[in-house]
């Protein structure tokens, strides 16, 4: 036997034939955008949003239970991993390394990948801070950066927020003059190469975050926001061009499902269960105003018996939050559920990254606090109308269930201006209307934003039943660090351990 080829064969067999050793910026960018924490995916909803932020903001129904406000450590581990390892952060570090290794002459043409990736990274990073406070960032991602393990420190949340705000500003400026290319357009599965959308995305997230810090750091937030609002050509926003009957697909930042996705949220919503209508949302906010979104948010539901078959409930009602578990068990069929066509059987349901309605609510709040209440009213009414448009848009994407016919502009206008949600009363009342309607617009699909804004503004005025388990009577004000980070980065964790309680505040909370 001759084995002369053995040594060569050894090296050939070292690498897995299924993987590639060639880095590619477009490939990384696609992977970084393709994020099931942004889309309404089963795992993110079922294990994270619907068990945490959606409960803490009452944007979902939940069954009363001793431990209903207790954080799920295992699921938080997953969420944390999905940001870092590799996640948006890990992939971004690999992109930085790839970019740095490029010949200088090529860098200018490839910067567009880095800037787009940075916007997505900073958007997600801000959400991490909103959940946890200080997080590892500047030293994080050593493996994709350098192939070695360096345990990162936890960066200060205030400084990190500033870094994010500055970065979004410069990326927004970059996209104002950037040139697209065919490879970028193909790899950009979020905006399909639309540079103005990237610019608006960066500006709008910055706007959202400036408002987030405005209660504790008004001195920074106010001038920066007013500069943006007063220079709309320099700082275009995701505002649907302020058109009430706008097309969300064209102007909102929506991460759409993959085209071969053939699932829906049935399991995510019925396992806990979460598909019943939330009390405050339907009974207190929507029913009194006869909200035209009710038919696309909810189904009336009904009872099935052998003799009568399915009998639909006469009206939309939600179970009171004071119901006991056994009342829920016996009474549930008499109450409304989340709409099947719009939400839970809609395979085309996109992940809302930021929408025109939210931006206009933010404008309304800024104007009400720092500018003109007339402009605030206009923005508020635009925002509510755009929310109606948005939810009917979602409803019409669906292949399942009844497609609702959108009310006429006149009917929507009547609702916006004359119902119980009309923009009237004191500044406090008005801010309350803005906050409540924004919370309603977020729903559980954007429960992270709903919970953050609720913590910032305490709007709407929710009451929470007391949890029976010792230490878990009320919802937390932040999430605890997941055990996977505490355990494996214990040296750096010690520096933030004192802040790691469920009642500690995120820095932007008043």
């Amino acid at each position: 036997m001759t084995f002369s080829g053995c040594k060569k064969s050894l090296e050939e067999k070292f690498y897995n034939p299924e993987v590639s050793t060639t880095a590619s910026l477009p490939g990384f960018l696609t992977d970084l955008i393709n994020n099931d924490r942004v889309r309404p995916s089963y795992w993110n909803l079922r294990t994270f949003l619907l068990m945490h932020s959606a409960v803490y903001s009452q944007t979902t129904f939940f069954t009363p239970d001793n431990a209903m406000y207790e954080q799920q450590d295992g699921y938080t581990n997953d969420y944390w991993r999905d940001y870092y390892s590799p996640g948006v952060l890990g992939i971004y570090r690999a992109m930085e390394k790839t970019y740095a290794a490029l010949p200088e002459a090529e860098k200018a043409s490839k910067q567009i990948y880095m800037e787009a990736a940075k916007i997505v990274l900073y958007d997600q990073t801000a959400q991490m801070i909103d959940n946890f406070g200080d997080i590892p960032f500047s030293e994080a991602g050593s493996l994709p950066s350098s192939n070695i393990i360096t345990l990162p420190k936890f960066d200060d949340q205030v400084q990190l927020y500033n870094l994010v705000l500055d970065g979004l500003k410069s990326s927004g400026t970059f996209f104002a003059t950037a040139k697209a290319n065919a490879d970028f357009t193909k790899a950009d599965i979020l905006n399909s190469g639309s540079l103005t959308k990237w610019q608006r995305y960066a500006n709008s997230i910055r706007f959202r975050l400036l408002m987030r810090i405005s209660n504790v750091n008004e001195a920074v937030a106010r001038p920066a926001v007013l500069e943006m609002l007063n220079n709309s050509t320099t700082y275009p926003l995701v505002d649907g061009e302020n058109v009430l009957d706008y097309n969300p697909l064209l102007t909102d930042i929506l991460l759409r499902p993959l085209t071969n996705f053939a699932d829906d949220l049935t399991k995510a919503l019925n396992e806990l269960p979460s598909f019943y209508a939330p009390d405050y949302m339907l009974n207190t906010v929507m029913n009194p105003s006869n909200d035209p979104r009710i038919p696309v948010y909810f189904d009336k539901y009904g009872t099935t018996t052998a003799s009568t078959g399915f009998v639909q409930n006469p009206t939309y009602r939600a179970m009171p939050i004071t119901f006991t578990a056994s009342q829920v068990e016996t009474e549930n069929t008499k109450y409304a559920v989340i709409d099947s066509a719009t939400i839970w059987m809609n395979q085309y349901l996109p992940g809302p990254v930021i929408t025109a309605s939210e931006v206009n609510f933010l404008k309304a709040e800024a104007q009400e606090r720092w500018g003109s209440t007339e402009l605030a009213k206009a923005h508020y009414e635009t925002a509510v109308s755009q929310s109606v448009t948005f939810y009917y848009y979602l409803n019409n994407l669906s292949l399942k269930g009844n497609k609702e016919v959108k009310p006429t502009p006149a009917a929507i206008n009547t609702f916006v201006t004359t119902s119980t949600i009309a923009y009237t009363g004191t500044t406090g009342n008005k801010l309350n209307q803005i906050g409540t309607q924004k919370w309603l617009h977020f729903g559980f699909l954007q429960a992270q934003q709903a919970w953050a804004e609720y913590r910032r503004t305490k709007i709407p005025a929710l009451t929470f039943p007391t949890g029976g388990k010792a230490g878990f009577a009320t919802p937390p004000t932040r999430l605890l660090y997941p055990s996977i980070e505490k355990t494996n980065n214990s040296v750096n964790y010690q520096a933030v351990q004192a802040k790691d309680t469920r009642t500690n505040k995120i820095f932007w909370m008043p």
């Binding site: 991993r81 991602g141 071969n260 399915f310 056994s326 010792a470």
Partner: protein
Amino acid sequence: MKQFYQRCFAVLLLSLLTVAAYAQKPVTGTVTDGTRNPVPGVNVKVKGTATGTVTNGDGKYTITVSEGAVLVFSMIGYTPKELTVGAASTLNVSIAENANALNEVVVTSLGIKKETKALGYAVSTVTAKEITQAGSTNFGSALYGKAAGVKITTAPGGSSSAVNVQIRGINSLAYNRQPLYVVDGVMIRNDQQNGPGGANNNGGLGNPNGSGFGANDRIKGNGMLDINPADIESLTILKGASASALYGSDAASGVIVITTKKGSKNRGLGIDFNYTASIENAAFLPEFQNEYGPGYDAATNLGANGNAEGWVTDATSPGGLRPYFRAYGQYGPKFDGRDVKWWDGSIRPYVAQPNNYKDIFDTGFNSNANVSISNQTDKLNYRFSATRMDYKGITPGSKQQRNTFGLNSTIKMSDKLSADIVVNYMNTKTHNRSGLMGNVLNSFDGFFSRAEDMDLLKSAYQNSAGYKYSLNGSNRPEAFIYNIRATGILDFFWNQYKNSYDETENRLLSSATLNYNIINKLKLRGRIGSDVTATTTEDKRYSEYPLAYNGTSSTGSYAAIKGNYSILYGDALLTYTDKIASDFDFSLTGGFQSRSENYKDQFAATTNGFISENWFTLSNSLGTIDNGIDPNNLKTKRQELLKYAYVGIGNFSYKNYLFLEATARSEYSSTLPPQNNNYQYYSFNSGFVFSEALKLAEPFSYGKLRASYGVVGNDAPIYESNIAYSQSPIQSVNGSVPSLTLPSKYGNLNLKPERKYETEIGTELRFFKSRVGLDVSYYTNHIEDQILSLTTSPSTGATSQLVNVGEIANKGLEIALNGTPVSGKDFSWNTRLNYSFNRSKLVSLNGTVPELIFYEAEASAVRISAKPGESLGNIYVYPRATNAAGQYLINDDGFYVIDKSRYVNAGNILPKAIGGLTNTFRYKNFTLDFTADYRFGGQMVSPPLKYATGAGMYTNSLDLRESGITLEGVNETTGAVNTKHISGAEYYMNEFDWGNNAWNEKATIYDNSFIKLREAIIGYTVSDNFSKKLGMTNLRVSLIGRNLFYFWKTIKNLDPEAPVGNQWYSQGVDAGSTAATRSFGFSLNAKF
């Protein structure tokens, strides 16, 4: 082989030279064994000459000798016997079986046969009888307690479940945790196709928090299960590094060398028949309480249903109350027999169902029939064997069948050239193999109450139309009228009774060995062998409800999974044997060994359910077919490995009592980065039979000292050290776009192989004509450059990296004692006791991390971790908080405050000592064999026991129910003595709750020592006179029992052998297993 030839030549030469110096006469006789069965194939030699013969099929021999000559009767597995020829011409002999016989030949590394006497290291041999007599379905579980330093663990679940073997403690923290199996000289596949994750491991390094919840948690088998016990001739366990050094990087965890049965030892046709049948039942079950039904503590009950006792007001129930079916706790109303409305709408009495857990399980059975035909002619010696096994486990719906065919032949082509051809074919079908019951036992959604009738649950998993059960609120037909808790058990029945998971495995093991005697002193041996497996699995899951109830997706699924695994092995050895002087023999061997391994898996499954109900085909997929290429869950994959090595061996002996051996191996492996892929191993060992050198007299029968030093190692798992990106095509709004992602388990291009350095000394002593024997070994080793997928914080950009993390060390003592206290014509008693202890510690870490965390549970409250200098296997927990005076802090609710700022050592999962006791008694034609094995010291971590205790399932939660308790300690804020009285329900539900606020030190950690009666066999040998009338010889009938009972065990409500998994710490962690078993049966052996 070499020894074999040396002997043959000696016989040839000496027989030519022998001169008849004395008057010779023919002597005949029969050689029998301890059970008075004739023993064929015994060597009968005239001492001091080369004259000899072999007993025939009836144990008879005839030899021509002179009076006064000494005849030596010897055979592998028996203590040799010497008798002086007297006047009589008939000399019947009884020889005693002995697994530790001294002059036996054992098969060592590379299939080289050696006399035990010449070895400088410890080996354990186990005989064919010991492997088969108790009717084990595999040879592994027959090894319990039979070899010092060898720890066997059989996963529950019966014949389809993996058997793990751990030799001499912990040899690798992460990889290659099982010994290398070598069958007829060829390395075979055990579970390499599963890669570094191994089989049956939930969580573990890289995911220490993983619980396996929701995973496909069927208990997998391993490759060694395929080796038919009835075909094994001998089994040798090479324990130390010196013994196994020639196998290099595969041998760090020891080597098990198996030789299958060869053709008959004498001429003529022989037919053997063996049959074993046994039944199997769930055994060693928890002690359930049967006084209280579902419900929680009073406050929770009130909050949930407005009734402190735990009833739910319901006008449709007789008496207006019904049980709280959704509760997982068992602190509700006492069973009083009243009629209540059940969740299926029926009216049932409210009574306990004491056997509802036991009733989950079936009665299993095992039937095993083996026929073998053997023959010998001038040119050909063969044995053909066929075996059929039918097995039904206790797990509902699971069964297995296996057919095994084996051919073992030797062809003598010329005086110089012979060939051994061995072919084994196994065909195994497994239906719905047993699964872990973590979703039932380790999950609050699995707990069924003491009031649930298992017959109802066994019928309720599907509705009258054959669809899966529907929960309350689903608005589907026949939905349960109330919410229930125990959906986990219903899912279990749905999976086991309705769905089918069918595995078919075809495996061919073959080897061809050519022995070429080039010239007198120079021999060449070449061998090629292969182990080829083809598996197909069909996973059929039925539609769970009618299509009309579908959302976007549907239910039901079909998956087709294929695996093709092959190992191609080859070696060539050239040996030169000579003498330097009359007392000084030596041999030199040079050789080459190579192996390529190839594992291909292919997966295809429907996604999002079926378009048409219950049509099991890929084309019925609602979504795009999942072809297993998702980089995060790769199921379609290829793995290839190439290893080769040059080996050299030198053997030297002086006067046949002093032996020295040196070996060297230079190995190349494709799994390591190219700059590190060549590395060397070597070993030295020496045996000194001082009883011969010093001519020691009785009571000293034999004495030997051994010393050895060796280096073995461990390369990396296939592809794990790669640093590369996975590409997947994603179907986006921009069309199909490549998405390039990073591995969450990071590779390392500077990885080096692990090296184990081991020193071993030992002695073998025999006294009183070898009636008492002692074998002692002491070893100490250290293993450098431990390769570990080091868990790191996700914020480093990956969850783990493959690194050379540091060094571990073991030391241990193995003692085997055997004796024949009674040896009479009618009655004899043989006994063997073995004992071993091993200590493993983490010596150093490379500095990346301060400590290694192998397992973590309960939101970090319980972990198995080690810092440099600490013993491996230490369990750490959050303690109860105390004040400066050492008093326990109690919170306002009356519970212990847990100190989450530090850990305390709460034990160690590794045993202090393990071993076994085997006894064989013979009285006339009856024999009684029993084997007990033991484990002393160490603890087990069991979160499921905590949850079930907290839920009030067991009798251990009854004590405080009436009285409640006030915990001793002081209030954490006021410092005053705690006076807050809590009910029993509150105490158990909080202190034994999931998570890190519970008193985990008490609730999850349990002492784990036991002595178990593993096997008992009562055998009767039918007298030859009678059996010959039936046309048989050697007819033997036995009653057998396995896993009969524990003489003693410290852990309640859990079988000490419940855990599964083959990581070194797996056996110390219970993740929610299935029930253990006890079996009884009979066996029948006959020759025709």
